[in-house]
Amino acid sequence: MSRWLSDPLLKVEGLTMRFGGLTAVSDFHVSVGRGDITALIGPNGAGKTTVFNCITGFYKPTQGRLALARKGAASPAAVEALTRSGSRFATLGGSELFLLERMADHEIAHRARVARTFQNIRLFAGMTVLENLIVAQHNELMRASGLTFFGLFNTPGFQRAERAAVARAVRWLERINLFERADDPAGALPYGDQRRLEIARAMCTDPVLLCLDEPAAGLNPRESAELTALLRSIRDEDGVSVLLIEHDMSVVMQVSDHVIVLDYGRKIADGAPQEVREDPRVIAAYLGVDDEAEVLEAESEMAGMAGESP
C-alpha cells in the first residue's frame, strides 16, 4: 500500500476556498505521505498555490479539514475527537495532531512545523545570507534569549543557543554551496542561489513538512539537477516530507513519490508518477485537448518527457 494511504502526514478533507464568487478550490481531498516527496501539478490557475496558502495558513479555508499528525499516525477517531473539542492541536498517545485550518500562519510554521517557500522569492533582500538563516530560527533563539531579557545581558545560555544557530546555518550554507557568500546581502545573489537559499531558510525552521512553490522556476538545467539532488537529500537525510508545486515535468517525474493533479480547483488524478502520467484526463487537462487523437499525441509527448528520468 502506498505510504500516503498507510502513513499520512497531512490529510486534507473537503478543502474549499472561495474568493467572493470565485471558487478557487472545491472539495479537495488528499493525503500527503510521511517521508514522501509529493508533487502538486496542474495548469496555470488550477488553484495549486491556493491549496498551499490554505495549508500554510495564509488563507483561511472556506470549508474543510487539514489534519497534520506530526509524530506517528493519527487514528480517524482521534481527528474526530480533536475536531469536536474545538482546540487547534492536541497530543494524543504519542502523536501530535494539528488542525491547520484553525491555526494562524505563524503558528503553523512554529508549532505544526510546516515551512514554505514562495513562487516569487521572498528573501530578506537587505539582510545577509547568514542573517536570513538566523531569522528562520527566531523562535528557538527567542526562547533562549528569555524573551530578550537574558539576551540583553548576553548570558552564557543565550550565547550557546546563538552558536548553535550559526552552526546550523553554516551546515545549510555548505549544503547549498553558499558558504562563501554568507556575509553578502541575500538580494545580491543570482536567481538560482536565491531559490536554494530560500529552501535552506525554510529548512532552518526545522520543519516536518516543507512546501515548495515552483522551486525550479527560472532555473537552468544544471541548477535543476542540483535542486533535484537537494530535494532527495532533504527527504532521505533529513527525513522531511516535501510537498511541491512544479511545472517542470522532468523534475516532477524524477523526484516525486506521489503526484496529485489539480484542474479548475478540482482533483483530477492522484497516484504514483507512472499512473498519473498515463492518465488520459491528466493529459487532456494539461494540454487543453479533448480530441482522442490529440490525447494520444500528448501521451507520447509525456512518455518522451518521462524518458529523461532514470
Binding site: 495564509f58 505563524h106 515551512a115 514562495f118 521572498r122 539582510m127 538566523i134 531569522v135 530578550t148
Partner: protein, 501 residues
C-alpha cells in the same frame, strides 16, 4: 555624488528659454499672494496693498537661478553662483528701494560670487569627476570614532564653560547641547519603530506628551521625585504604546500612518480640553526642577554649589541636565544596538524587509510589532519626562504634529535604521534651525528689514524638501549586518527595503 555627469557644453538658448519659462511660472505664483498684501486698517477693515517689487524680485531671482543652473554644468559651481545671484538681486532691490549706498556693497559681493563661478565651472569641467571610490575594506575605524565622539560629548560643556564663562556658555550648552540631544534621543526612539521595524508612525509625539505629563502630574500631585517618575513615565508611555498599537498594528502602510497621526491629535485635543486633568491650554507650571540626586541646584546652604564648595551659578543645573539627556540618549543607543543583535531586533528588520516571509518562518508579527512600538514609546516617554523637568512647564502647545514630523524627518534623513545617521540628521535639522536665530549680524549687512528668525520655519520646511531630493535614502543608507561569519560588510542601501507598515 549627485553631480551631473554630463560634461557637454551648456546651451545658451535652451537655458534662456528654460529660465524664461520658470520666471513666467514664478510670476503666476507670486501674482496674488506676493504682489498684493492684505492688511487691516484703522477700522479693522481688510484692505489690500500693492507690493509689486516683491514679485519682481522673486521673478528676477528665479530667472537668474534657473539660468545659472542651465549654464553651469557642475553642481559645485552652481552652489556658488546661485546664492551669489540671489544676494545680488536682493542687494539691487535694496539699492532701489532704500538707497544706492545700502545695496551697492551687497550687489558687488553677489556679482563677485556669480562671476567667480564661471571659471570654477570651467575648471571643474576639465578635471574628470572623481570615480566613485570602490568599497575598499580598510581597518574598522568606527569603534575608535564613536569612542572619540562620546568623549567629545562629555567634555563639551566644560570646554564651553572654560571658554565662554557661565554666562556665555549657557546658550551653547542649553540651546545647542540639550536641545539637539533631546531630538537625537527622540530620533533614536522612533528609529526603532520606523527605521528597524518599518512601521510608519506619524503620532510619536503622543508618547513624548505622555512622558512629559506623567512627570508633571506625578510630581505636582504626589510629590514624587524625578528619579522615580522617569521610569514610571517610560512604563506609562510603553503601556500607551501597547494600548494604541494593539488595534492598529494589523493595518498596513499609510493606514497605520494616518491612525497614528489621529491618535497623536486625539491625545493633544484631550490634553487641551480635559482641564481637570491637565489644566488645558494653560498647562502645568512650577514642575519641580531636577536635583543632583536629591541635592537641589540652589544658592542655599544645602544646595549643590555649597556642597561642592563652588560658587553658585545656574549653569550647574544646565550642565547636569546636559549630562542627564546625554546619558539617556546613550542608553537608548546602547539598548537599540544590543537589540539589533538579538532575535527580536533581527525580527524587526526582517519584518521591514518582508512581513509575509516572516510569518512563514513562524515569527509572531503582531507581538514583534508591538514590542517595537512599545519600546519606541518608552524612549519617547523618557525623553518627555526629561523635557518636563527641563522646562518645568508643560502645555499641549509643545506636542503638535510639527514635532512628530520633525522627528520622523530626522529618522528618514538620517537613513532609516542608522544610529549615527539619525544623530547627524538631528544635529543638522535642530542645530541648523537654532543657528538661524543667531544670524542677527546679517542685519548689519542686509539692512534692518532683514530678519532671519522670521524665516526660520520657512527655511526649515524648504530644507526638508531639498535634503530629501538630495538624499532620498538619507545620509547613511547602508545597513550594517547584525551578525557575520567572516567579514562585516555593509549592505548597500538600494537593497534594503523600508517596510510596508
Amino acid at each position: 555624488m549627485a553631480a551631473q555627469q554630463d560634461h557637454q557644453r551648456p546651451d545658451m538658448a535652451r537655458a534662456l528659454v528654460d529660465a524664461g519659462f520658470a520666471a513666467l511660472v514664478t510670476f503666476g505664483l507670486s501674482f496674488p499672494i506676493l504682489a498684493l498684501r492684505t492688511e487691516q486698517d484703522m477700522q479693522n477693515r481688510l484692505v489690500v496693498e500693492q507690493r509689486w517689487s516683491w514679485a519682481i524680485v522673486a521673478v528676477v531671482a528665479v530667472f537668474c537661478a534657473r539660468l545659472l543652473a542651465g549654464l553651469l554644468s557642475d553642481w559645485r559651481a552652481r552652489a556658488v553662483a546661485i546664492p551669489g545671484a540671489l544676494i545680488g538681486v536682493y542687494g539691487a532691490h535694496l539699492a532701489l528701494t532704500v538707497g544706492p549706498a545700502n545695496g551697492a556693497g551687497i550687489v558687488a559681493f553677489g556679482l563677485a560670487l556669480l562671476i567667480g563661478a564661471f571659471p570654477l565651472d570651467a575648471r571643474l569641467r576639465e578635471t574628470p569627476a572623481a570615480v566613485a571610490k570602490p568599497n575598499v575594506e580598510g581597518p574598522d575605524h568606527s569603534r575608535l570614532m564613536s569612542i572619540a565622539g562620546i568623549v567629545a560629548l562629555f567634555v563639551f560643556p566644560f570646554v564651553m564653560l572654560a571658554w565662554l564663562g557661565p554666562q556665555g556658555s549657557l546658550k551653547w550648552i542649553n540651546n545647542y547641547g540639550v536641545q539637539i540631544l533631546i531630538y537625537v534621543m527622540l530620533g533614536w526612539g522612533l528609529n526603532i519603530v520606523v527605521g528597524l521595524a518599518g512601521l510608519l508612525d506619524l503620532g510619536y509625539v503622543a508618547f513624548y506628551a505622555v512622558g512629559a505629563y506623567s512627570y508633571a502630574l506625578l510630581s505636582t500631585t504626589y510629590g514624587l521625585s524625578f528619579w522615580i517618575c522617569l521610569p514610571l513615565a517610560g512604563v506609562l508611555a510603553a503601556f500607551w504604546g501597547v494600548i494604541l498599537g494593539f488595534p492598529v498594528l494589523r493595518l498596513r502602510g499609510d493606514y497605520l500612518a494616518i491612525v497614528t497621526l489621529a491618535f497623536g491629535e486625539i491625545i493633544r485635543v484631550v490634553l487641551i480640553n480635559w482641564s481637570d486633568f491637565s489644566n488645558g491650554y494653560a498647562g502645568i507650571s512650577s514642575i519641580p526642577r531636577v536635583t543632583f540626586f536629591g541635592v537641589p541646584f540652589t544658592a542655599a546652604d544645602n544646595g549643590f554649589a555649597a556642597m561642592m564648595g563652588l560658587e553658585f551659578t545656574p549653569i550647574h543645573r544646565t550642565i547636569f541636565l546636559y549630562f542627564l539627556i546625554l546619558c539617556l540618549a546613550l542608553l537608548t543607543n546602547a539598548v537599540t544596538l544590543r537589540l539589533r543583535a538579538l532575535p527580536i531586533g533581527r525580527a524587526w528588520e526582517a519584518l521591514r524587509e518582508d512581513e509575509i516571509a516572516c510569518r512563514s518562518l513562524g515569527v509572531n508579527t503582531v507581538n514583534t510589532k508591538l514590542t517595537a512600538f512599545a519600546l519606541g514609546a518608552m524612549f519617547g516617554g523618557f525623553a518627555g519626562s526629561f523635557f518636563a523637568v527641563r522646562q518645568n512647564f508643560v502645555s499641549p502647545e509643545s506636542f503638535t504634529f510639527i514635532e512628530s514630523a520633525t522627528i520622523l524627518a530626522i529618522v528618514v534623513l538620517g537613513g532609516m535604521g542608522s544610529q549615527i545617521g539619525v544623530a547627524l540628521a538631528a544635529v543638522a535639522m535642530i542645530g541648523g534651525t537654532e543657528i538661524l536665530r543667531e544670524l542677527d549680524f546679517l542685519k548689519r549687512i542686509f539692512g534692518e528689514g532683514f530678519d532671519p528668525a522670521q524665516y526660520r520655519m520657512l527655511i526649515f520646511g524648504l530644507a526638508m524638501v531639498v535634503m530629501m531630493i538630495w538624499k532620498p535614502r538619507g545620509l547613511i543608507s547602508s545597513r550594517t549586518p547584525s551578525i557575520f561569519l567572516k567579514t562585516k560588510r555593509a549592505v548597500a542601501g538600494a537593497l534594503v527595503r523600508e517596510g510596508q507598515g
